[in-house]
């Protein structure tokens, strides 16, 4: 294979020049997000510590965060449902390596929390408990971050165990 240096050697004007084989060009991404009416309702309820979901009129599944339409039935989901702040851990992992740009200290426990009454899991961090004790079926509740209340899920700092007995696997088996 011809190396960059060998290619340059054939051009007298470039004698002795360092071949350029790689330059790093930083990429940055900023975008304006338009949440639409369903997510706007969800986001603006968060500073009031309220969790707004939507129920599909056809399959009756409850989505949080709401998307304004049911991905299965393909129809609008106009009915609002307010959910409690408690739920069940349906699965989780412990993240030990940091992703560039993510503002979370490692290790952290990343879990799917099925809020009571919902049919899709919310992505959440589990805290205030040793990670070795976190388990599928564990009952948890939202801990709100009063300093970061705003139209973002950062309003919820994390979920912590409620101390209740674990949920019946039948209650979440289909939604994990």
């Amino acid at each position: 294979m011809t190396t960059a240096a060998e290619l340059l050697a054939g051009i007298p004007e470039l004698a002795g020049a360092e071949p350029v084989t790689r330059v790093t060009i930083p990429a940055r991404l900023e975008y304006t997000y338009s949440p639409g009416s369903a997510q706007a309702r969800f986001l603006t309820a968060l500073p009031e510590k309220r969790l707004l979901a939507e129920r599909c009129p056809q399959c009756t599944r409850v989505y949080v965060p709401p998307r304004g339409a049911c991905p299965t039935c393909g129809i609008a989901t106009p009915e609002q449902v307010e959910l409690p702040h408690t739920g069940t851990v349906t699965t989780f992992c412990i993240v030990n390596i940091a992703a560039k740009g993510l503002d979370v200290e490692v290790p952290y426990c990343y879990a799917y929390v099925l809020l009571d009454g919902a049919h899709v899991g919310l992505h959440a961090r589990i805290g205030e408990t040793p990670y070795a004790d976190v388990r599928i079926g564990q009952r948890v509740e939202a801990v709100w971050d009063d300093r970061r209340l705003g139209p973002s899920l950062a309003s919820i700092s994390h979920f912590r165990p409620t101390g209740e007995p674990d949920a019946d696997p039948e209650s979440y088996r289909r939604w994990m």
């Binding site: 399959c59 409850v62 989505y63 992703a99 560039k100 740009g101 993510l102 049919h119």
Partner: protein, 388 residues
């Protein structure tokens, strides 16, 4: 006019490595394409169209790289088409090319897929914060680890199964000169004591980050008759999609994957895949996905996939060898990884897989998945021309 049978007459790969400093993206894809043409004993002029695929443009930060790759791939004056379906893209790219041949739109099609991860930051590209979710997903491993845990919980599989798959695939890779990882000193104990990255997924149970490209030359019956080496015939091919998130989505065994496999088997007249297939190249970026896909693809009953792994069935000398090439666990140029699965399946039934050849392989499956386990593409290739 009826569909015509499609033959794979050329296969080309680069040696997959962590960083190809000596070539640009254009040089990388051209190297794979030149090798595929050489295998088929064809020239650029014999190609009627080019179909290219890669994973998200965000990875390398080159928007629409196909624009600047047209000349490197000999597509000037010819149709060129870009495909994207996340991690499954290498497979769906090959299927789009195969369909163009089957439909007699083009006689001979070159299809290429690539990723140059050394010029990219895939973990960053896959961890972008979105305003309606907590920013917690740490790359693909962070996304898939909870679903691996759900599989372990659902089936009661012992913790060691993931390490058995990883050790097997890394051993198989030693027989494949194109594989990225050649870990001669690896032991099972070392896999089992490697650090937990995304508990329950360990470092050695995780795919590497690779630069690489793969290319195939696809043609019809007349092209196959002229080919100097045995072709692989496409007996069935299908793609399926489903939403990333919906109530009732089974992340462990997605419906779209089951439906896609069933469609491919129906096309190929396969009723018992476990007995009728001689080799499988499946998309296993994290070792636990081997038992998960064994169930999803109908090789094992629900909850039984890990037992095949433990019994050695998927070893090179087992009765259903999985990833004799070393798989995604040994080479992962993301956009190319699906096409490499398809290519390795074709090499097996052509009898050209070299040291990792499964003796007498006549039917093999190539499989790829992508996104949040939501895009699936598969093909089943055989050494015999399909009779329909």
């Amino acid at each position: 006019m009826s569909k015509q049978p499609v033959a794979v007459v050329g296969v080309g790969q680069t040696k997959h490595v962590a960083a190809r400093q000596d070539v640009s993206i254009a040089g990388l894809v051209r190297e794979a394409a030149v090798r595929a043409l050489a295998d088929a004993a064809l020239d650029w002029a014999d190609i009627d169209a080019v179909v290219i695929g890669k994973a998200p443009d965000f990875f390398e930060g080159v928007m629409m790289p196909e624009l600047y790759l047209a000349e490197a791939l000999g597509a000037v004056g010819k149709p060129m088409l870009r495909v994207h379906t996340a991690g499954s893209v290498g497979g769906s790219t090959a299927l789009v090319a195969a369909n163009l041949v089957a439909a007699r739109v083009h006689g001979t099609v070159l299809t290429v897929a690539f990723e140059k991860q050394s010029e990219s930051n895939a973990m960053w590209g896959l961890s972008l914060p979105i305003p309606f979710q907590q920013p917690l997903t740490a790359g693909a491993g962070g996304f898939f680890a909870p679903h691996v845990r759900a599989y372990m919980r659902r089936t009661g599989a012992p913790d060691t199964v993931g390490s058995l798959v990883a050790f097997k695939d890394r051993r198989n890779a030693l027989k494949n000169p194109y594989a990225h990882l050649h870990e001669h000193d690896l032991t099972l104990e070392r896999v089992q004591s490697s650090p937990m990255l995304w508990d329950p997924i360990r470092y050695s149970e995780t795919c590497p980050s690779s630069d690489g490209a793969c290319a195939l030359v696809l043609t019809g019956e007349r092209g196959a008759a002229r080919a100097p080496r045995p072709p692989a015939w496409v007996h069935g091919g299908a793609m399926r999609s489903e939403p990333t998130i919906f109530a009732g989505k089974d992340y462990v065994s997605p419906q779209a994957g089951r439906d896609c496999a069933a469609d491919v088997y129906r096309q190929a007249g396969v009723t018992d895949p476990r007995r009728q297939l001689d080799a499988v190249e499946m998309y296993v970026p994290f070792s636990w996905y081997e038992p998960m896909w064994l169930e999803n693809l109908g090789f094992a009953d629900q909850g039984e996939g890990w037992k095949l792994v433990e019994a050695g069935v998927t070893e090179m000398d087992g009765d259903l060898p999985v990833n004799p090439s070393g798989g995604v666990l040994s080479s992962n140029p993301i956009g190319a990884s699906g096409m490499i699965r398809f290519a390795e399946a074709a090499l097996q039934v052509r009898g050209l897989a070299g040291e990792h050849q499964i003796d007498g392989a006549r039917r093999a499956l190539g499989h790829a998945y992508g996104g949040g386990a939501q895009f699936f593409s598969m093909w089943l290739v055989g050494s015999d021309r399909p009779d329909r």
